[in-house]
Symmetry: D2
Subunit: 352 residues, 4 copies
């Protein structure tokens, strides 16, 4: 066990640096984890580039990162069901366990949830972190650290598909195939979709979506409503998942969805009020369901990645060592068209 704890810090002036901190001691019910890998999320990049996201603002230095996995190195008092040496994926939103949302099984809606890496709450881009034992989820045998670092975004996709209550054989459309969209394509297929359409305007992403089992629709080249209609026998998609995070996609969703269908809204549009055709929701009797992170989604995410039903390797485009994390952020910010997912490994990856 290394005896230093390198911790990435980000401040309001867009500066990123590593500093050393004491290795934390697990409280009762917690485990101490030696972190092995992190994915960099779009939200981490957003705080880096703009210092703000929705209601959150970077004021004091804090630690980014919430897509992490590692190895348990110590158990706090009273912990059962976990053991030292176990590889775990870290679920980063710790709820109060006592409010009505926690008790009804929607703990991601807990008003007092502590989400690691939200400014003010330190994240996982460091060598050691403590979390409640039940938020450290055992990785199946043979899963790599890189894969483990992708479980958090897979959990977003799994939760979106859970919210969709996808029927076997359903026709699915995914709007936007960045990292979350590409995982959502796979989660839809893993859940028994009959056909998955992937809509985007970037060639690389569409090619990847096709490789992962989707039928690509290039929305800069084809009128999307007509294209979806043509591919679905005139019906539209039974389930549409909006993962693009743009108002144009949000507005498109009801139009490409079949009567009696479901829209799952995952992406946050860039504007507060979206000119939305509520009458399409009425005429087709659609369901629109919002998604905000996930609950109870890590175990299925681990299971599906473990048995190969969802593959994360194809979405990993770049790797950096923790000591180069500032460069990783700068690179990802500078090359949005090349980057899908950047992984930061705590140990320097082997050359070649």
């Amino acid at each position: 066990m290394a005896d230093i704890n390198r911790v990435l810090r980000l401040d309001a002036n867009h500066r990123l640096w590593l500093e050393e901190q004491p290795i934390p001691v697990p409280d009762a019910g917690e485990v101490l984890i030696r972190v092995r890998a992190n994915g960099i999320c779009g939200s981490d990049l957003h705080f880096f580039a703009r210092g703000t996201l929705g209601p959150y603002v970077v004021t004091e230095p804090y630690t980014p990162g919430h897509e992490a996995c590692g190895e348990i190195v110590a158990l706090g008092a009273g912990v059962t069901g976990r053991r030292v040496g176990e590889a775990v994926a870290i679920e980063p939103g710790i709820p109060c366990r006592r409010c009505r949302y926690c008790k009804m099984g929607r703990y991601n809606q807990c008003p007092d949830v502590r989400f690691l890496s939200v400014p003010g709450i330190d994240g996982t881009l460091r060598d050691y972190v403590t979390v409640p034992a039940d938020f450290a989820h055992p990785m199946p045998p043979g899963m790599s650290w890189e894969q483990g670092a992708c479980i958090e975004p897979v959990a977003v996709a799994v939760h979106a598909i859970n919210r969709a209550r996808l029927a076997l054989g359903a026709t699915v459309a995914v709007l936007g195939v960045g990292p979350i969209g590409l995982l959502t394509v796979q989660a839809a297929l893993a859940a028994g979709a009959g056909q998955v359409l992937a809509l985007d305007r970037q060639e690389m992403r569409l090619a990847l979506a096709r490789e992962l089992g989707a039928t690509p629709v290039h929305i800069a080249r084809e009128e999307p409503v007509q294209a979806v209609r043509a591919l679905t026998g005139g019906e539209g998609a039974d389930v549409t998942l909006e993962t693009a995070g743009h108002s144009s996609a949000t507005m498109l969703a009801p139009e490409i969805t079949a009567t009696a269908g479901v829209i799952v809204q995952v992406g946050w549009p860039e504007i507060e009020r979206v000119p939305y055709k509520i009458e399409t929701i009425l005429a087709k009797e659609l369901d629109l369901r919002g998604v905000n992170r996930y609950a109870n989604a890590f175990p299925p995410a681990l299971s599906l990645v473990g048995r190969g039903a969802i593959r994360v390797q194809p979405i990993i485009t770049h790797r950096f060592a923790l000591e180069d994390a500032p460069a990783a952020f700068a690179f990802a910010h500078a090359h949005p068209d090349q980057v899908i997912k950047v992984i930061v490994l705590n140990e320097k990856p082997p050359a070649g």
Copy 2:
């Protein structure tokens, strides 16, 4: 059995008149019904006043009316399970029975549904009408013709509550308490709501909502988000039903709804694109569910009105005879603030 069939007609010039037509003969699987009462729907009034509604336009004369009940006077070939003399409420949307929506139990979404009183398809404001036997639903003993004529709007409220999948004890908000809103208030209470808030700006309607069990919120006098919050321990409504049919209510719905809550959209906003806070849907992980008429809702509507769990008498404000139907339309159009539900009785109501 009367030997004439008086039929109300409406043309594109806003003219209404009664004419005589032959009594129709029921086809195989149909019943012939002697109509006893109709309610006048807002959509009937809209076609009368403006000649158009959504995609529909009055071009040729047709017969309005789709909130009707009556007595079976003849059975077509092969009809079982119905008998001459039976009092029935008429479900006015006849589906194809063969498409995927019909077969999945959402036959109101059938693309080939024939909805009586949509321009081009004659409605029920007449003395005799034929419908498929299974769309003539037996009225429970003791139910009056007036009550029977209200089953159709009750079915809208029942379907809205079915779409809400209301949990026992849920806090419900109803936006707009016209006829549908007042029935929805009652359907929510009948379904086990813990508390129902009624939001409107008309005194008469709010008074009636209170009488029917709701807590009124006068939105011209109170800021509605604050008012709902104060009445719900800060949580908001678990389920919000928008029955006002105005974009301001549509936009208000997510703001007064609790985290993890449900919005059922019943009313059609007056504008095509509503500036909608999708981010509230995301942040609170809400469900928005559209409603377009109903399916499988007549039997429960009849049952709940029959046992007094939903009372329609308080929403009936005016009565006319069929021969005075043109005057009924003119009155209802001229006095929107006095009228909640106008009933047209085929036989002249007794004086006094």
Copy 3:
């Protein structure tokens, strides 16, 4: 605040006595409650009479009682959202909050749940008790202590109806109308049942069921399958709730249930293996759903009793003071045909 804490004790020799114990001190997150009333449950009586129930055996003396309410008299560290002086109903099953069942919203299935009054875990028949603050549920204004003591069995009925996912207008049959059955009849009506049939063989219970809105079926006088068929137009009940706790009722349930219907099993049959017609489950494509206590059911139970949709007063047949609790147990055990629910009040009830 009284300075003594009288505590009822039961031992393996069927002896019941009151003893004095120190007033407990609330831990962090807990509240101290001055108990005001308890209902006596059938399980309490069972342990009194037989010393055993299912896997549980009375070995050491312990305190019965888990249908309780009272007044908060002190708050442990960190408690928010509760205040001294508040009247609360006590939810008696305290889960671990960390296992998969707790996190999926089915915390009653927590393998480490601590259920007050199970032998080895002291119950609520005493003057003071501590519970986690979130398991002390505020009673609505105007609710009496007697009513508060009935919230726990109401929660059983509410959970059973939640498990049934009752549709508006559904026809419901309740097998056995003891305390839980009578509350289930009301919960079904409160949830929008169209008709509720109550099946039993005791006149008093059937009369009470009728008074509470059910259609009684005396199963010693009528063949129940025929009787239910006759009352439901030949269909059977859409939902059957078995609350009798006898194998004959368990076996009857599928036979009186309509095709595509639901059976909710609440009562525990007296034999381990019930000769069950699985082929009826298959032929009619029924759902059979087990019930084991409740989760998230106290708030709706309080709300529905608070607004009068479920009335508990009619099921309370006898009242005793805490100092007479041993006599209360003896009386209830000796007079099963007269007793529906016995309430034990911590303060002597006023004479008359």
Copy 4:
């Protein structure tokens, strides 16, 4: 188009023979299908060997077969959405379209359903058959006749998984891996199961289950409750599907199912009353759901077989020509341990 219509006949004396009948003419709404392949179902064999099954008895000669596909060769009046030359799988249960079950989307529960091949209603083991156009489901491009003949049993598996409402990542146990069990294993994996356990006592079947993705449990060599526990971290299966059709499997199901889990009963036990541990249903709060054929399951079955998510080729063990259908029945009846699925092709299969 061949000008003869060979039709297989079965009588009460276990005799099977081919006879010629006129080619039927499609009624309005129907299509005429030239049949290309049939699977032989266990129920066909049962009627052949015993002349009876459940309530059905062979009295007059009739035509077996209900797992069929073919080519549309003529359209009845008014048929749209189908075309001559189209390859279709035949859904063999034709409902009334008017009863409450038809209208709620559970048309397999229609009391007047006409199921082809039930004694008295001729089945599909012949050259030409007519069915309603909407019960002739288009086969995706490239699907073989053999595959098309397996869509009916796939629909059973799809319906069973639909009834299970399988969550992503769920642990599934399938009891009995005959034809339906092997398809159910695949449907569970296609629906996102994390792990599927297959329990049986036949080596060949277990080997096939393993090849199709399941973890085999040989119940003659391992104590099944312990084995399932060991493979599921002590939890049991989230969903258990009973496809063995034996009371021992029916009784085992609750014991191997996890707390809060679901049992889907597909197989019919050989005895009327199964000694069933209802108390396990209660203690674990299980759901037991019956399955009786399928509704709305052909389109997803076609879609999943079409994209390779369910493979039927591995379960086809034997092939015969229609002229040898009597021999096919005799063979399948005589060799239950070698046969999984026998296909009868209307045209003689190419040699080799």
